[in-house]
């Protein structure tokens, strides 16, 4: 009987024992409130912004390839509707790429917003790079908003109301209920915000030239590009000129050396770095799979003797671009490189002076590097536009410029017979459904 009592007592103890089984913690994540505590954490969050630029919808694949697919450099031969729609030039509001691009580019904006709001107040005396981190965050935000504007906004018309909704603060408490329902700012306001961020970045980052991050020169180069798009030709000329003349960059002598490497080059102003542990999917999409095959119109467009015509590999019945040829997907995305500065300076000079020959020297620098002879003179502004468009196509194909260039020069109708409203991609359906203040671009359905 005694034994029975002891046993029953034991069992009852077990019965009444309350185990603390509910207290589990994630093993590979941190609670959001406990993240930004010191300078090292700020650095890690800053690098996180680059890590988020690497995702597939952004520079990792689609933002880099879609501008070529939406134009005449790539043709889509794979299975997915999303890319077929981009290729066909009729992008519906439910298109998967625009839906994911919106969110993922804004994710980068939000990381920058968090840093811009929190970094000045971080209590860490050893945080020596505070200004630089803050400057980089401003430059990153400018890049992200400019990329958003190019995809979704009327970047080609500074008088248009169709700019981007400008979210400049982090989401309070990480609470989704506190996300503001923003209306779109005008294109001019969007440009103003981008330029203001770049001005801040440039003022904070002097002397910082790490070309795998948005450094001082990258901010300047981006400002050159933004000013070119906004048709501020004076400013564009000056910024491009500053980078070319005062920056530590030089053109790579052979186009092969420029692309058949996995590292940065002397031409890199900002390379988004991919390595074999942290690869893009650009090789997979352009080479390994049979998806973004080269449009014969691109290969046919090269002049005789253009070295850049050799940057293709014929395999399995089709040409494939060699710009992303590392099979470990370790090719860097060349977000900003020196050749673009020459072509910006050429275009800005020409447009500023309304003189087709004003930018000829810079144009010829790029032609010469590709093994082509100088153009001696150009007869008209129209002719210059054809030549600069061709040159930019030959130089930057598969680097995410083509569609935007065609739109900038208002050639969408002429080249592809597309209606004007297709110069901007539609605001995604998902966003319109939940943001009452968000206005669709003209010409596209709203639900």
């Amino acid at each position: 009987m005694k034994k029975r009592s002891i046993l029953l007592l034991t069992l009852l103890t077990v019965f009444l024992m309350s185990c603390d089984v509910l207290d589990t913690e994630p093993q590979a994540s941190l609670d959001a409130e406990t993240v930004l505590v010191d300078g090292a954490a700020a650095q890690a969050v800053l690098l996180g912004a680059y890590s988020r630029m690497q995702v597939d919808p952004y520079y990792g694949v689609h933002f880099t390839l879609s501008p070529d697919l939406a134009a005449d450099n790539a043709r889509y031969q794979g299975f997915f509707d999303s890319q077929l729609e981009v290729h066909s030039g009729t992008v519906p509001i439910s298109n998967l790429w625009i839906t994911t691009a919106w969110v993922n580019i804004y994710r980068v904006v939000n990381i920058a917003n968090l840093l811009i709001a929190e970094v000045p107040g971080i209590d860490d005396d050893a945080f020596a790079t505070r200004d630089r981190v803050l400057g980089e965050a401003h430059a990153i935000r400018a890049l992200a908003y400019f990329d958003l504007l190019r995809v979704f906004g009327y970047h080609f018309d500074t008088s248009s109301p169709y700019g981007m909704p400008l979210l400049l603060e982090p989401i309070e408490n990480n609470d989704f209920n506190l996300i503001p329902d923003l209306a779109r700012s005008s294109v001019a306001e969007t440009y103003q915000q981008i330029l203001s961020d770049l001005n801040t970045a440039i003022s904070l980052m002097e002397g910082y030239s790490t070309n795998t991050a948005m450094n001082y020169w990258a901010a300047l180069a981006l400002r050159a590009r933004v000013n070119l798009y906004a048709k501020n030709y004076d400013a564009a000329f000056n910024d491009a000129n500053d980078v070319i003349e005062n920056g530590p960059f030089s053109l790579v002598s052979s186009v092969d050396d420029l692309f058949l490497t996995t590292g940065t080059t002397s031409e890199s102003i900002f390379d988004l770095v991919f390595n074999d542990q942290d690869g893009s999917a650009l090789f997979i999409f352009t080479f390994q799979r049979d998806e973004y095959n080269v449009n014969p119109s691109l290969t046919d467009s090269f002049e005789e003797g253009d070295d850049r015509a050799g940057l293709f590999i014929f395999d399995r019945g089709s040409d494939r671009p060699a710009k992303w040829s590392d099979s470990n997907n370790a090719n860097n995305v060349k977000v900003l490189r020196l050749a673009e500065m020459y072509l910006i300076r050429s275009e800005a000079a020409t447009m500023r002076d309304n003189n087709p020959n004003a930018g000829l020297a810079d144009l010829n620098v790029i032609r010469n590097r590709a093994g082509l002879a100088d153009i001696e003179s150009i007869g008209s502004m129209d002719e210059y536009v054809d030549i600069i468009l061709h040159e930019r196509r030959a130089e930057f194909n598969y680097e995410g410029h083509r569609f935007f260039d065609i739109v900038r020069f208002n050639k969408l109708g002429e080249f592809f017979g597309r209606e004007d409203f297709r110069k901007a991609f539609p605001i995604p359906r998902d966003e319109l459904q939940i943001q009452t203040n968000l206005e669709q671009n003209p010409g596209y359905p709203t639900n």
């Binding site: 029975r4 069992l11 077990v14 019965f15 009444l16 309350s18 185990c19 089984v21 509910l22 589990t24 994630p26 093993q27 590979a28 994540s29 941190l30 609670d31 959001a32 409130e33 890690a44 969050v45 690098l47 996180g48 680059y50 890590s51 690497q54 299975f79 729609e85 009729t90 519906p92 994911t100 969110v103 993922n104 804004y106 994710r107 904006v109 939000n110 990381i111 979210l167 989401i171 990480n174 609470d175 989704f176 996300i179 503001p180 329902d181 923003l182 795998t212 390595n275 074999d276 542990q277 942290d278 997979i284 080479f287 390994q288 395999d315 099979s327 359906r429 966003e431 939940i434 359905p445």
Partner: protein, 1024 residues
């Protein structure tokens, strides 16, 4: 690659068992045997049949006093039977008087039913519970028990999304309650809620692995399926999708048994796509060019394509590869099992060891399992019982990629070019890029044979429990259980594959592990008492604590010296490596009270308080109650004089259950994760917080009736239920300017309501011939009632919309083929003049109107015959595969005038296409352009209703006197067929298919999915 050691081992064991056999001397002396037959209460049974097993002609019936007399030898077995009672067989031996007590056959209404934390007799139930006995599922040539449940019970929809050996099975009990959490039931084995999800990290297409295949189906004694809230609420936050209670076999006192069971058989696919020959294919391509002449004004010759390709369409010696024949085979399936059970009054045991080996019908697939079990019960003292259940097993699943993925075997076969051989003359695999068809990305035989993908699992499930009798009325049961899985995935993509060559990786491999350790401590008090005046009380009160810890690792490497290696140590470069882990916990308190008055009025109430680590701080604990009543009208005095109804029991139940499965363990937190840039770790925001996150709650009302007729010869059960799930865990769209597209939130509402009907009865119960039949049918309507954002387009073919069920198709629609032009009449839904994804509309859904099963079992003397038909009606399938093999000549990447290159071959149904004006057909004209081809269109939407002869078993039981003569207690030989006949209008491989088994929201697509298999097997059961 797989161990075959165990097979010879089992054969040796079998031999040892047979060697000591010797025929017994027959004792032929005949004498008179007499006695009385009575009921358990001592009443004599008049009219009971008494006969000799050996000689059906010799027999007698008992007289008014239950007395009988029959002449028999000592070796004779007499059989005593009476309708409504269990038949007994008794060896005469040296006795001359044999008195027999026949027990009421309570199998149907009064059987014991396992419920959550206890057992009840069926007549006492107030809830809706379906029971499936071991006999119904034993010895079926399937890898897992869930596959054997198909068609057996109403309200239980079982579907094998593919025929991949060891693949996951979908079970929905009373509809799909959830949109983003799981709609699969909770599985409880011998009281332990087990891990039933896919633990493999290996990509292989849309099919999950099945962790329930870790259990040997032949170890199961019974399965109970809890359907209504009264039955499931005691499982609280995990009860909303129903609960499957699995009880394994246990030993019985005084009856030592050694059993050997085996079956072996062969399998092939249920159906094949009839593809065009090379000659027909070339003819169709030429026709495509000619049709374009008519429509597009081109000027192609009548042999335009075959001339360019350099073939003569009339050449009988053309290469003619039949790709489906090449990738599928007739394969073997077998199972060997040895069991021993028995015990003394104090200790009982059941042990089993079994080996199951299934070769896949598709090359490169297979499944193998070895499992052992020990179930022990012992009486320590008169007030304390101890027991243990231990099962350990190892499975090896060998698979290939399939479904909608680039390097699947079936998917690459779909439109396989018949002009391409499998092998070149030198024996190497032919490369599709050297042939005309565009579809194949690699040779499917190469993928099947040379890719390696293994998932190996070792799983142990162990429980130790004690039951202490505190007083006669009160007992306490305590148990400690462990569910441990160690799984490793190993994959290798060979150097010679296109996937490796295109990626320039020189072979690449992956090795990953998953370890899951789940423990459970449960304690509960049971109280049973009967008070004077007919008051019965039965109550349970307890606690349960469960915690699960899971660790993962994964390593990828590339650059292999040759395809003979699989291990990563030989690889030149590790490309990624990571480890991670996660955990969850559940703390619960539960009770159940049953009260009945005079066996007429039955009441049950249950409740469970669950605390879960998965949910937000604001809603960490939830309470799940239920209540039910039933009225046994047959026990009322006014029913005393009627003989029709043996049971008439209306019942009603209402309750609330929850669902917390399938949700991220930390979904309520605002989190930063770790990523990297420039080989430096970074911190990135990964999710926004939601402190209000909680379980989905399902309110269910069930109104039912159980009817027994003519002494329970016919039993009928009907239920109407309405099940509304609120607070659906859904990814709520949030403004993308936050950098996130969604958060998990409790929003939305879905409803399942329906009618279930079960009837079973003995149609003939003759002396030699019996026939019993059972039929069940369920009509269930699923409807999404409320969403945060209506009409969410889920993918290219599916939408989630209010007023429509889960699994609704959203496709470009058409009005058939224009008889004048042969072109598809696409519907320009948005009227913008172009046909694109903006023209999609709702065109049907993947939910059946009704489904069910019809089982029949016959016995005639020693023979038994069982058959089960199973059917579903009214569900649609998006036969995406047809988009490839009904391309009708579309030259996807070629240039029609210069070098046409179509996807590849077409099925022969395309011979019915439109050929000339006036043709009435639903297949448009051939064309080298894609005018009539829209990948995501209703052109591929088909009715997938089917009726299937699911199982057919013919067995012979040798008579006891024969088996005793050869020293056995029982000997049965049988043959069995699975999926022998299928009646359907579906044109794909098999109408039971789901390309994306992991996501019910996009159910009902078929795209390169491994088809179902037909099995014919032969088996033997021996008991000593």
């Amino acid at each position: 690659m797989r161990s075959k050691l165990i097979q010879p081992l089992l054969f040796c064991t079998l031999l040892l068992v047979f060697v000591p056999l010797h025929a017994m001397e027959a004792n032929a002396q005949e004498r008179e045997v007499s006695g009385t037959v009575s009921t358990a209460t001592g009443e004599p049974l008049a009219g009971a049949t008494v006969r000799l097993a050996a000689d059906a002609e010799t027999g007698t019936v008992t007289d008014i006093d239950g007395y009988y007399s029959i002449s028999a030898t000592a070796d004779d077995v007499i059989i005593i039977s009476f309708i409504g009672y269990q038949t007994q067989e008794i060896l005469v031996g040296d006795r001359s008087t044999i008195n027999v007590v026949l027990q009421l056959d309570q199998q149907l209404l009064s059987e014991v039913v396992v419920v959550g934390y206890g057992v009840q007799t069926r007549s006492d139930l107030t809830g809706s519970i379906a029971s499936i006995s071991a006999d119904e599922i034993a010895n079926q040539p399937v890898a897992s028990l869930d596959a054997a449940l198909q068609g057996r019970a109403s309200g239980v929809f079982v579907s094998s999304p593919s025929g991949t050996p060891g693949a996951g099975i979908t079970i929905n009990i009373r509809g799909q309650t959830s949109l983003s959490a799981s709609s699969e039931p909770l599985y409880v084995i011998d009281g332990v809620p087990v891990i039933s999800e896919d633990l493999s990290g290996l990509f292989s297409g849309g099919q999950a692995t099945n962790s329930l295949a870790d259990l040997n189906p032949n170890d199961i004694a019974s399965i109970e399926i809890l359907k209504d809230a009264s039955a499931t609420a005691i499982y609280g936050s995990r009860g909303a999708n129903g609960v499957v209670l699995i009880t394994t076999k246990r030993g019985e006192a005084g009856q030592s048994n050694i059993g050997f069971n085996m079956y072996t058989g062969f399998q092939n696919i249920t159906n094949q796509i009839d593809m065009m020959s090379s000659q027909e294919f070339l003819g169709m391509m030429n026709d495509a060019a000619l049709q374009d002449n008519r429509d597009l004004g081109t000027d192609y010759s009548s042999t335009h394509v075959s001339d360019i390709w350099g073939f003569d369409p009339n050449d009988p010696d053309l290469q003619n590869t039949r790709w489906y024949d090449e990738i599928f085979r007739t394969s073997a399936v077998s199972n060997y099992e040895l069991t021993a059970s028995g015990g003394s009054e104090n200790t009982r045991y059941f042990t089993s060891l079994s080996y199951f080996d299934q070769e896949g019908v598709q090359f490169g697939t297979g499944f193998e399992r070895i499992s052992g079990r020990v179930n022990l019960d012992t009486k320590v003292t008169d007030w304390l019982d101890f027991g243990t259940n231990i099962t350990v097993n190892r499975t090896v699943q060998d698979r290939t990629i399939n479904d909608n993925s680039l390097y699947g075997v079936v998917i690459n076969t779909l439109a396989g070019d018949p002009l391409m051989p499998v092998y070149e003359a030198d024996g190497s695999y032919a490369d599709p890029f050297n042939y005309f068809g565009w579809w194949m990305l690699d040779n499917p035989l190469l993928i099947a044979n040379e890719y390696q993908r293994f998932t190996r699992t070792v799983r142990g499930l162990g429980t130790i429990f004690g039951v202490a009798t505190i007083t006669d009325q009160l007992s306490l049961r305590s148990s400690l259980s462990v569910d441990y899985t160690s799984l490793d995935d190993e994959a290798y993509t060979p150097i010679i594959s296109r996937e490796s060559v295109n990626a320039q990786r020189n072979g690449f491999g992956n090795f990953g592990t998953t370890q899951d350790f789940t423990w459970l401590i449960e304690n509960y008090l049971s109280y049973v008492n009967t008070f004077s005046g007919g008051h019965n009380v039965n109550a349970v009160l307890g606690t349960s604590f469960q915690q699960s810890n899971r660790n993962f690792s994964s390593i990828s490497a590339q650059g292999f010296p040759s395809d003979q290696f699989l291990k990563l140590s030989v690889a030149a470069q590790v490309t990624s490596a990571s480890t991670s882990g996660t955990s969850w916990g559940l703390a619960s308190y539960f009770f159940r009270g049953n009260y009945s008055f005079d066996d007429r009025y039955l009441f049950t109430t249950t409740g469970r308080l669950d605390g879960s680590s998965r949910f937000g701080d604001n809603f960490r604990y939830g309470f799940f109650p239920s209540a039910s009543v039933a009225w046994r009208i047959t026990n009322e005095s006014f029913m005393e004089n009627q003989r029709i109804f043996s049971e008439l029991k209306p019942r009603i139940s209402y309750g609330i259950t929850g669902n917390q499965e399938g949700i991220g363990n930390f979904a309520s937190r605002g989190l930063f994760g770790v990523s990297d840039y420039r080989a430096t770790p970074t911190l990135v925001p990964t999710q926004l917080s939601n402190a209000n996150l909680t379980w989905e709650s399902t309110r269910q009302l069930d109104v039912g009736i159980d009817i027994g007729l003519f002494d329970d010869r016919v039993n009928l059960s009907a239920d109407y239920f309405i099940k509304t799930t609120d607070d659906l865990l859904l990814n709520r769209l949030i403004p993308g300017i936050s950098g996130f597209s969604s958060v998990t939130e409790n929003i939305g509402k879905v409803e399942n309501k329906g009618f279930e009907f079960d009837i079973r009865g003995a149609i003939i119960s003759g002396r030699d011939l019996t026939w019993s039949s059972s039929f069940n049918i369920s009509f269930i309507r699923n409807e999404v009632l409320q969403l945060e954002v209506d009409r969410q387009v889920l993918n290219d073919s599916h939408i989630l919309a209010e007023g429509h069920p889960i699994g609704t198709f959203y496709l470009i629609d058409h009005e058939g083929v224009d008889p004048q032009t042969g072109n598809m009449l696409w519907i320009d839904e948005n009227g913008d003049g172009v046909i694109d994804s903006g023209d999609r509309r709702i065109v049907g859904n993947a939910q059946p109107d009704f489904y069910g099963g019809w089982g029949n079992s016959f016995t005639f003397k020693g023979f038994d015959l069982n058959m089960l038909f199973q059917f579903t009606y009214g569900n649609k399938i998006f036969n995406h595969s047809r988009a490839s093999y009904e391309n009708l000549g579309w030259s996807r990447i070629g240039i029609p005038g210069i070098f046409p290159l179509p996807d590849g071959n077409n099925h022969r149904l395309a011979n019915d296409r439109w050929m000339q004006p006036g043709d009435e057909t639903d297949i448009p004209r051939a064309s080298l352009t894609n005018k009539n081809w829209r990948e995501y269109s209703s052109r591929w939407l088909e009715d997938a209703s089917y009726l299937r002869l699911k199982t057919l078993t013919l067995g012979y039981n040798f008579s006891p006197e024969f088996t005793q003569r050869i020293g056995m207690r029982n000997l049965r030989l049988y043959m069995q067929g699975q999926n022998l006949l299928t009646f359907t209008n579906y044109t794909g491989l098999d109408p039971e298919v789901n390309q994306n088994a992991r996501n019910p929201l996009v159910a009902g697509s078929d795209f390169g999915t491994h088809p179902q298999v037909r099995t014919i097997s032969f088996g033997i059961n021996i008991e000593f």
